[in-house]
């Protein structure tokens, strides 16, 4: 199963390198969103709390613009039936998830670096807390966006359905991640943020279990 999952990942990775569809749409969205925020802010000095929130606004909408691609591309090219024949549902899901995790990590690292470079008030005081919340938040975002992409790929209006369906599912993750980002900008210790970190960990575990349970039904439909 693991070798098949890796083969699915490899296929996606190579087709992404060839078309560069997801990478381009993510990169364009990041640049546009951050420059709009830069223009809106202007010379104004914005507070730390606001930058932490805006950071996750950009991450959420960037994820919405590019991550649906993994399953939608299979439907558009008509390759999903072949994929059903060659690999088991969990192998397909693992491969797609791995691809999305890597994509989310690349995207969020770029966003974080741009924020640190462009916004004066985005100064991280507790790096280890920021790192933990960043990693856990990214994994949660990747899992949720992968399973929702699988759900919407069969539907008609994919572009609108994706953010609408994702919002309630991602809400607990985003609220807690905004809080954790504020903590790391404030310089709160990890000890004080342990409840928030535990919320994100349990969110990740819940979403991963639900995804593997539901994917069989979504995929074989």
């Amino acid at each position: 199963m693991i070798s098949k999952a890796f083969a699915v990942f490899n296929k996606d990775f190579h087709s992404e390198l060839r078309t560069r569809y997801a990478i381009n749409s993510l990169a364009m969205f990041v640049i546009v969103a951050i420059s709009v925020i830069m223009f809106a802010v202007g010379q104004e000095k914005i507070s730390e709390g606001l930058t932490g929130g805006l950071f996750w606004v950009v991450i959420f909408f960037t994820a919405m613009s590019g991550l649906a691609r993994t399953f939608v591309s299979e439907e558009e090219r008509g390759t999903s039936l072949t994929l059903q024949l060659v690999a088991s549902p969990s192998a397909v899901f693992s491969g797609k998830l791995l691809f999305n995790i890597i994509l989310v990590f690349c995207m969020n690292t770029v966003i974080a670096l741009l924020y640190a470079a462009l916004f004066e008030s985005f100064v991280i005081k507790n790096y280890s807390l920021f790192f933990f919340s960043f990693v856990l938040g990214n994994i949660g975002l990747a899992i949720s966006s992968t399973i929702i992409a699988a759900i919407i790929s069969k539907a008609g209006a994919k572009g609108t359905l994706y953010p609408v369906l994702s919002f309630p599912i991602l809400l607990p993750l985003i609220l807690t991640s905004v809080q954790l980002t504020l903590f790391s900008l404030d310089g709160t210790s990890i000890e004080d943020a342990k409840f928030e970190l535990a919320i994100v960990v349990s969110y990740d575990v819940i979403m991963l279990t639900v995804s593997y349970m539901l994917f069989d039904f979504i995929w074989k439909d």
Partner: protein, 129 residues
């Protein structure tokens, strides 16, 4: 095959209840003991009353308002608030300040005042014609 769903459902129930419990824990908590307020670096809602005998200071240049608060056990602390005196502050029965304690001062982001009710018995009597 069926075991997978039972096991999965089990994991989901455990972590969902854990998450709900953690959500209730992670919100900003009320604290009416100032000795504990001074020992944490967390943001708390400290409840106490204003010490009217001690001086308070309204700095017009830095736009800060400084005053002393006391809790039920008699612990005092100095509070700094970026802004002006809130309405009804003089007549407040108790004060709730949201913020955290850093370097000997409580830095308040928000001040809530609890005022004595207008509709108490005494005032009804005096207002009758």
């Amino acid at each position: 095959m069926k075991n997978k769903y039972i096991f999965g459902g089990f994991i989901i129930v455990i972590f969902l209840s854990l998450m709900v419990y953690l959500f209730t824990q992670s919100n900003i908590q009320y604290q009416d003991d100032f000795s504990q307020v001074m020992n944490t670096t967390k943001t708390v809602k400290a409840t106490g009353s204003w010490v009217k005998e001690k001086s308070y200071d309204l700095n017009r240049k830095n736009k800060t308002f400084t005053f002393f608060m006391v809790d039920d056990n008699g612990n005092e602390m100095k509070v700094i608030y970026n802004g002006t005196i809130p309405n009804n502050f003089e007549s407040a029965a108790s004060v709730v300040v949201t913020g955290k304690y850093v370097n000997g001062y409580f830095h308040a982001k928000d001040i809530l005042t609890k005022c004595p009710s207008k509709y108490e018995d005494e005032q009804v009597k005096t207002s009758t014609m």
